[in-house]
Symmetry: none
Subunit: 221 residues, 4 copies
C-alpha cells in the first residue's frame, strides 16, 4: 500500500505539472472519444495501450469484460453504458478481451470458481461463450489455444449482449454509434480485431477503417 | 476512433519494447498490490496517478465508483471484488472518488438522470449518500462545495457497501485486508483520505500509515 | 389454536384493565425507545426479556434476525427499518441473535435447507457469516461452540448490512442513531454484547454505557 | 437505551428463575402452536395478548403485517413462512392487523411516505388494499372508520398473498394448515375475526371454532 501512496506523491511532484493545463480545461467537462470496456486484470493499461490522454477514454472495467444483457437487474455495466451513450454521446464502444484472462479460464474450468458464488453467477452472462466453445471446438484440445479462442468468442458474445442495451440499440439505429471487438495479447503488444469477411480475428491494421458491427455470419473455423 | 488505432500502433513501435520483459513474466500470472475501485470518468488514470506498472493494480471501473451492497443480484462488481480478494488475495482495496463526478451530480439533481433508467436504478446504491447530504448539510448551498461533499460522503457509503461482500468480510475478519477511502481532485493533482480522528478528509500524507477501516463515528462538521 | 383464542379471552378478562390507561395514551401515537431486530424463534420474547411495556419497543422479526443489505429489492426489512428511523426517529437499533438458532444451523449445514428455496435464498444475506466461520475457524470443530460462534458473527455481519440502509446511514452521520449487537442465550437468561476492545462478545454490563458501532477491527481470537 | 439494559438485568434477577425449567426443555427444539404474523408496531405484544409462553408462538413482524406474494424476490417473509410451515410444521397461521396502524395510514395518504422510498416500495404489496378501499368505499369519509376498514381489508389481502407461498399452498391442500385473519383493537383489548357468513369482521368468540380460509365471497358492505 505504501508503494501506491509514494507513487501518488511522485506523480504530484514530477508528473502533474505536465498535465496541469489539460486538467484545467477538463474541469469544464469530459468529451471522451470512446467507451472502452475491458477486464479488471492488472496487466491491462488501456490508456497506455492506446496512448490516450486524460479526457479521451471513458473506461468500464469488471472481471472478464463481461456486459450483462439488459434486463431487470440494472447494475454498474448498464448504468455506465447508458451514461456513456446517452449523456456523453460517445460514438464508439470497444470491448477488449485479453490473453491469459482468469475469468475466461474459469469458464473452461468451472470447478475453479466453485467457491466463488459471485464469480460463478457473473459467468452466467458468458454462458453463450462456454457453449460455443464446448459445442463447436471439441477438436481443439491444446489448453493455450483453447483459452485464446474462448477470449475471442467471448468478445463476440459480449458485443451481442451490448446490443441489447436500449441506449446502444437506439444510437446504432440512428447511425451514431459503432461497436468494435478487440483482443489484446499483452505479451506481444498485439491487438486483434474480428474480420467478418475472413470470419476470424486479424491484426488491427493501421490504415484500414476499423470494423464495426462485427457479427459472426458463418460457422467458426 | 482512428486516433485510438494510431495510438496502439505508436505503442507497439515506441513503447512496447520497454515493457517486453515485464510482460513476459506477467504471462505466468498476476499478483496485484491492490484492488482499485474508481469511476469510469475519462479524466481519471489510476495507473498514472499511482505511478504503478502493469501487474500492480487490479482495477474496477463503473460510473460513480459505486459498489452495490451484496445480495441476490450478483453483477460485475460482486464478481470482480470476490475474484480480487478470494482468488488474487489482494491485501488492500481503495475506493477512489473524484472531483466533478457526473454520477454524483446526478444524485444532487435527480431530474438530470430522469431519462436514463439504468443510471437512475444504479444510483439507488448511493441513496444513502443522497440522504446523508440532504439531511445533514441543508446549510451547504454552494453547488461546488456541495458536489465535492457528495463525492466524499459517497466514498464512505460505498465502503459500507463493500463490507457486506462475504469475501471482504471474511478477509477483514482474519486481518488480511484493509479498506481505504480516497478522493482525487484531478485539477490540482491532490488526493484526500478520510481521517476518523479529525472526522473529515485530509491530504494523503506520504509517510503516515494509510487509514484503514474508515467509518464516521461522529456527526459531520 | 383454541389455546390462543382462550388466551386472548383470559387477557381481556384479567390483564387488559391493568393496561387500559396506558393504551388510551398510546392511541395518540407511538414513541418507541428502540428498534429491536430479532429472530422469529418462539423461544424469544423481546418485551419480557427487556421488561418493556407496550409502546416501548418497535420490533422486527424474521428468521435468523437477518437484515438484507439495501438495494433494488426493497422488502419488509428495508421498509420497517426506514419507518423506524425516518418516521419514528428511534435513537437505537439492537440486532439480537440467540442461542440454538435454526437459521444459523442452516448456514452450517446447507443440505438441511436444500428443500426450502426461500430459506436458502434468504441465507444468501448471511453468506458473509458462513464465509467468516469457514475461513477463520476451521479449528473450531465442536458443533455447539461452532453454532454459537456463527450466531455471534452473524450479528456483526447483519450490523454491516444495516449500515447500508440510507435512513440508517444518514442518522448515524448526524449522531442521532446508535447500533448495538447482542446475543441472547435463552437457556441461561444471559445477554452478550460485542466489545471492540476485547474483540469478542462479553456479558452486557448493567452500568457500562452500551456499545455502539461495533466493528471487528482485529482478527478474531 | 439504558432502560433496556436495566430491564434485562431485572429480568435476569427477578423473572428468569420462573422460566428456567421451561427454557431447559426448549434447548432441545421448538414446537410452536402457530405462526403469528403482525406489525412491528410497539403497541402490539403478541405473547401478552395471547397469554402464551416462550416456545408457543413463532412470530413474524414487519411494518403493516404485509406478506409479499411469492415471486422472484425472496426476502425475510418468504423464508420465515417457509421455515415455519416446512420445517416446524405449524398447523395455523394468523395474520393480525391492528387499530391505528401507521403503515395503513400511509396507504390512505401516500404523500406521507413520499420521502421513504423503501416504505413506499413495500406498500406496493398492499396496493390491492388501497384499491379495494378507494374503489368500493368512496362513501366512507370518516377518517377513523376509513383507517380501521383499511386495516381489515389489508388482513384479507395479505391472506391472499400468503396463499401464493408454495409451502402454504401445499400444506393447505393436504389439510394440515389453516389460515386466520384477525384485527386487534389495542385500545379496547378486543380482537375481531372475519366471518364469511356475515361478510365482515366480528368479535372473536371464545367457544366458536376459529374461522379458517376466510375469503370475501360477497361485495363488502
Amino acid at each position: 500500500m505504501q508503494q501506491l501512496v509514494q507513487g501518488i506523491h511522485r506523480f504530484q511532484r514530477e508528473i502533474f505539472s505536465q498535465d496541469k493545463k489539460l486538467f484545467e480545461t477538463l474541469v469544464e467537462g469530459q468529451h471522451p472519444l470512446a467507451l472502452f470496456i475491458t477486464c479488471s486484470d492488472s496487466r491491462i493499461d488501456p490508456s497506455r495501450l492506446t496512448q490516450t490522454k486524460p479526457g479521451e477514454l471513458f473506461i468500464q472495467r469488471t472481471a472478464g469484460n463481461i456486459v450483462p444483457s439488459y434486463g431487470s437487474n440494472l447494475g454498474g455495466e448498464a448504468a455506465t453504458i447508458e451514461y456513456a451513450v446517452a449523456a456523453l454521446k460517445v460514438r464508439d464502444i470497444v470491448i477488449c478481451g485479453h490473453s491469459h484472462c482468469g475469468a475466461m479460464a474459469g469458464i473452461l474450468k468451472p470447478e475453479a470458481v466453485n467457491k466463488m458464488p459471485a464469480v460463478r453467477a457473473y459467468l452466467q452472462y458468458a454462458e453463450a461463450t462456454r457453449r460455443i466453445v464446448e459445442e463447436n471446438y471439441a477438436h481443439l484440445t491444446d489448453p493455450a489455444r483453447r483459452l485464446m479462442l474462448t477470449v475471442e468468442e467471448n468478445v463476440l458474445v459480449q458485443l451481442e449482449n451490448l446490443r441489447t442495451h436500449p441506449a446502444v440499440a437506439a444510437a446504432i439505429a440512428r447511425g451514431e454509434l459503432k461497436l468494435h471487438g478487440w483482443v489484446y495479447k499483452f505479451e506481444t503488444g498485439e491487438v486483434f480485431t474480428f474480420d467478418p469477411d475472413q470470419n476470424h480475428f486479424v491484426p488491427l491494421a493501421e490504415s484500414a477503417s476499423p470494423q464495426s458491427e462485427p457479427h459472426r455470419s458463418l460457422p467458426p473455423i
